[in-house]
């Protein structure tokens, strides 16, 4: 159920290598947990992100959540459409709902993340809590 070509974090973000850039978003598990994101706060292009630190804030009717970067590097592009259309996150979290694209400091960082199968197991465990 989770796309095979992506890598995943324990905080429910996905990352995908794209010709030297790394595209980042949140997983369908996160979307389901958050339900109805109505406000998205995004960083600026050109800023730095650090692996494991928050780069964006999502607000739903009932809660506020942070989004953590799976890798360190410089923010190349930001999906500004999300500000006007936060529903893209729930409609297409792996496509039109992407959040940022990063120029990674170390491309190998991706390898330390979970693959789809590992993440699936992790998500199943998390939802039991």
């Amino acid at each position: 159920m989770y796309p095979k070509e992506l890598k995943y974090t324990k905080t429910h973000e996905w990352a995908r290598g794209d010709n030297g850039f790394i595209t980042v978003g949140i997983t369908s598990f996160a979307v389901e947990e958050l339900s109805d994101v109505v406000y998205v706060e995004l960083p600026s292009e050109g800023g730095k992100v650090e692996k494991g630190s928050s780069f964006a804030t999502l607000e739903s009717v009932k809660a506020v959540s942070e989004v953590y970067s799976p890798v360190s590097g410089e923010i190349h592009k930001v999906n500004h459409r999300l500000q006007k259309h936060p529903e893209l996150l729930s409609k297409d979290c792996y496509g039109e709902g992407w959040m940022i694209s990063v120029i990674p400091a170390e491309a190998e960082e991706l390898n330390s993340l979970m693959n789809a199968e590992e993440y699936q197991r992790f998500a199943e465990e998390s939802s039991k809590i």
Partner: protein
């Protein structure tokens, strides 16, 4: 942790796959599918809410009405059988114990529908009991014995009409807003009122606790053709917030008096006596120092309950409720601000994630309720 109470519909919520949260001592559904979807179901069609957590306090006896008149700020002596009134119930300080609905059933029977609080609204019951004095009234907390659902939305009348027979053969069409009647729901005894907390047309149905699951399921079944959905506390909050109905514990509480909160129309200072009268009279004479206003936040996030509001870096009040308004696709807040900052069009800052975010003072409600459209 203390065990959460369950409403008589708890099992139905679990069957429907609701996401449950603790609320005022109860394990309640916050959403079944999506808060936004449920919100629009209520605005455009019809939704059903479990509101069995609300408290029901019965007053029986010769002084049922005069006792009610003493404990609330609104005047109830001229109410007719079947009339319903909204009122704050105040402490001697003018701060609020609760806000509630008064159902005059008959001269010697008043039903108070109060907010949920831990242990079946024990807070309201204890307060009311403590002030019985010499009144000839019997006060009973019947909260556990009642089930209650709210059916809300433009087609709620059409749906309910087919299921309910009112006493005396009165058509549901003739049950005006803020009126209640006894009746029969497919063989089960009910009290039905033309009321609600969403700003849409709608009804609230009370029954014996054991009958409410059948009533809930019949309404869901019969409502299928109207696109009914079960709706949770999330949509209950977004719908009430858009029309700026007060939420006790957020917008009003023991520190906020009805004159500040814009409930002045419910404070009848010409009544002989009622709890809080002296304080409220003084506040009225001296003028209020702060007031509940609406805010519009163009960008920067959602200010939540107790968020500071500042002007030129100085605190001038706080947000009582803030949320995204699905019908407007805009973020609004209700805030209690010092009077000099309450003028419409004025700009203040709300503090969201340590940042000052601009907000504009706007009229309330943000969406007009059905009876004012």
């Amino acid at each position: 942790m203390k065990q959460l109470l369950m409403t008589p519909l708890h099992e139905e919520h679990l069957k429907l796959g609701a996401r449950m949260i603790p609320f005022d001592g109860f394990d309640m559904p916050v959403q079944y599918t999506s808060i936004i979807e449920e919100h629009f179901t209520v605005r455009e069609r019809v939704g059903i809410f479990d509101v069995s957590h609300m408290g029901e306090i019965e007053l029986h006896g010769k002084d049922a009405l005069s006792f009610t008149d003493y404990i609330v700020t609104n005047s109830v002596m001229k109410m007719e059988n079947g009339d319903i009134k909204y009122s704050p119930m105040c402490y001697p300080s003018g701060g609020q114990v609760d806000d509630l609905f008064i159902y005059k059933i008959k001269d010697d029977f008043v039903l108070l529908v109060v907010n949920a609080s831990p242990n079946y609204s024990a807070k309201d019951f204890d307060w009311i009991s403590q002030h019985k004095g010499g009144f000839d009234v019997e006060i009973s907390n019947r909260s556990p014995a009642y089930g209650e659902v709210a059916v809300q939305g433009p087609v709620s009348k059409k749906l309910i009409e087919a299921l309910v027979k009112l006493e005396g053969g009165m058509p549901l069409e003739e049950l005006r807003r803020f009126k209640s009647a006894h009746g029969d729901f497919l063989g089960r005894k009910i009290l039905i009122s033309h009321t609600g907390y969403t700003g849409e047309d709608g009804f609230e149905i009370f029954s014996e606790e054991k009958d409410i699951a059948d009533i809930w399921n019949s309404i869901l079944e019969k409502g299928k053709k109207f696109g009914i959905k079960p709706c949770g506390l999330g949509a209950r909050d977004t719908t009430r917030f858009e029309v700026c109905y007060w939420l006790y514990g957020n917008d009003i509480d023991e520190t906020i008096n009805p004159l500040e909160a814009g409930q002045g129309w419910t404070v009848k200072l010409d009544k002989d006596r009622f709890i809080g009268k002296e304080a409220l009279l003084k506040i009225k004479e001296g003028g209020i120092s702060r007031k509940l206003v609406g805010l519009y936040i163009p960008t920067g996030g959602i200010p939540r309950h107790k968020t500071d509001v500042k002007k030129y870096g100085k605190r001038v009040g706080y947000v009582t409720s803030g949320n995204y308004c699905p019908s407007l696709k805009k973020i609004h807040a209700m805030a209690i601000l010092d009077i000099p900052f309450t003028e419409k069009g004025g700009k203040v800052d709300v503090v969201i994630r340590d940042r000052d975010v601009e907000a504009e003072v706007v009229d309330m409600p943000f969406v007009k309720p059905v009876n004012k459209r």
